[in-house]
Amino acid sequence: MQGLLAWVPLLPLIGFLVLVAIPLFYRREPPEKIVTFIGVGSVGIAALITAIVAATVFWGNPAEVVYIRLWQWMLVDNLQLGFNFHIDWLTLVMLMIITGVGFLIHLYSAGYMREDSDFRRYFAYLNLFVCAMLILVMADNLVLLYLGWEGVGLCSYLLIGFWYKNPANGAAAQKAFIVTRIGDTAMAIGLFLLFFEFSTLNIPQLVSAAESSAVDPQVITIATLLLLGGAVGKSAQLPLQTWLPDAMAGPTPVSALIHAATMVTAGVYLIARMHPLYLLSETAMTAVAIVGALTLLLSGFSAIAQSDIKRVLAYSTISQIGYMFLALGVGAWSGAIFHLMTHAFFKALLFLSAGSVILSLHHEQNIFAMGGLFRKIPFTFICFTIGCACLAALPFTSGFYSKDHILLSAWEFHQGFNSFWLAGIVGALVTGIYSFRVLFMVFAGSEGSASLQCKDANTAVMTVPLTILAVLALFGGLLAPPLQAVFGVTPSEHHAAWVEGIAIAMPLIGLTIAWQLFKKEKKSGEQRSSIMQYWFSGWGFDWLYEHLLAKPFKALARLNHNDIIDSLYKGTAAFSQQLNSILSSSQNGQVRWYLVTFAAGSILFLALLVAL
């Protein structure tokens, strides 16, 4: 039964290979039904296997750990890496999210991407992504994790630039790839450092080695900060968050799967997985918390100012992952994973219903052109409302439970009032504002210019996943995973009622502010005050990086247009050519000339003898 888990990453890989290999056997493009069957089916079976194993092996056993040894991957001196999977409850939660939510999004994609000319390529990439993501979470050593890490990065790149005929999409894909590469480099250096210190990259061994042996805490701090760099890049946190809003250039289900539910949470998973190391370094913990707090505030405010429905959701994703980082930074490991799970549900739901809106409005994404859609596409409206309620953490939705957990943990961790808790509370208010603002802008009020052409584009394969996700988003708060065996039990302290009261009140205050904002914006149209414009541009980070890094680099590249290093080699070539022409002119076939040179040579040689 446990061995079945090895099939979980293998099935999407098989799906990918089959989809890629089809043109080798059939000249014609296969019908969409077959592609759907392979692409969705592979992930569906993987989800089924995960569910079965979870129900039979893990249910009721919080301490259960499954270890699957597949094969030796590499063996160099004392570096011993296996293709081995280590599955505990943390991994299982990730597995269920990836296969479960992934399956639903695959199913939805079959409807969303219908009649796209690259239907097969889309599902091939998607399957490859799921495979890489599963390897990432199941890996028992950091190098295998890195394989998955880079694999999902590649798929993210491929899918952002899926509609590659538009150069802007290609640029967005490159931006995502290059920015995450910065973080990945930091992470790779972190891996080197860890291996240098502990001579192992196997995660359980690494953890026990770090805890038992007396290692320089400085080294642990540096290594964990480097890993944080990788997590920051992948999870689009400050200061590497700029790629995620642009990544919305990809198809909407891709945004739901990769840029909301799974890949961007890989950083959270990494830190949660390596949490014993972080516990050894207070600096690293504080850094994680600061990154999370700053990110959730900055991107929350940016989300308020956006006019593109997908960019609102992108900024809100950054903000919510900021919450997870904040949770990690205050030691609320299970809270972070819990929020990761609920976020996967409601953010996937939001993205998919946003996809329905976009499809219904014939690829219109500007919320100022929408409005009054609640009458035209009521089903999508209900789904989107549920998603927004969860995102804003209205009481008794899943988002409420997980966010509440995080806020209370922040309160407890520093024994009372502190800046992290305050950031979380302000973030909750901002979340309420931007989530309801977008809800009102799209569905309420008078009809916008694009709303008139609205035609409900939902099909059965789209409504079914939306329904399931809506149910999960609403009641997912009851499914708190038993992670105490992985992270240890944190004693629950008693705290004042007003602390919880504020947490409940904040989204409601946000709702009312959002209504005021909506009325004002509906009147004024798409005009922004200077502060809103500043938020709209994502706090000017793009401008800053453009002028700080891209421009000087381009100037340097232009300076080195003729390649200074290359001229050395060109010079060598020219020199030998010159030498050749000189020497070949001496090869003139004149016997007497040869004799003269011969005599001159002898004279020189004898001169040496005489001189010596």
């Binding site: 003269v596 005599a599 001159a600 002898s602 004279i603 004898l606 001169a607 003898l609 005489v610």
Partner: protein
């Protein structure tokens, strides 16, 4: 006794100089024969009568005859003298002459800087000793020399043969 040596040496040098500067090939050849004969005399003075005899017979005799045959076969006539005059301008020969002079100076320097043995004794080596050395210690080299001569014979015959494309007036080669 050294007068004879210096006299012959002077003759050798002068006649050799004439060889390289003379314009008429046959005259130059005669000077060359003179030079070879004087070298033969020097051989004799150095106690090598066999070498002297061979120098006269083979060098001054056979080889020079060979060259004179070829000069006769080429049969270029009187025009060659004027042609040689045109070819042998001072501008042509001054460079090589300087180079050779430099080389000579260097050789003299090297020879004079060497350790000179105090006992200037020379030994008479007769034909008998040479013959014994030749056919005992150097017998293999003699065989090789015979092979070389054979190869020279075949090669000369092959090279000098007229090709069919060359429709010359005389059908005979060497």
């Amino acid at each position: 006794m050294n007068y004879v040596f210096y006299l012959t040496a002077t003759i050798a040098v002068v006649s050799t100089t004439m060889v390289i500067f003379h314009r008429n090939a046959v005259h130059a050849l005669l000077y060359l024969v003179t030079s070879l004969l004087s070298v033969a005399v020097i051989f004799y003075q150095f106690g090598a009568p066999l070498a002297a005899a061979l120098e006269v017979i083979i060098y001054a005799g056979a080889i020079m005859v060979l060259i004179i045959f070829v000069i006769m076969m080429l049969n270029q006539g009187d025009s060659t003298v004027t042609q040689e005059q045109a070819w042998l301008q001072p501008t042509t020969w001054i460079g090589p002459a300087l180079l050779s002079a430099l080389l000579l100076i260097q050789l003299i320097l090297l020879v004079s800087s060497g350790q000179i043995s105090s006992t200037q004794t020379f030994h008479y080596i007769g034909p008998k000793q040479v013959g014994i050395a030749l056919f005992s210690h150097y017998v293999l080299a003699v065989e090789l020399a015979s092979m070389l001569l054979l190869a020279g014979l075949v090669g000369a015959f092959h090279l000098a043969r007229r090709r069919k494309i060359d429709t010359g007036d005389s059908g005979n080669a060497i």
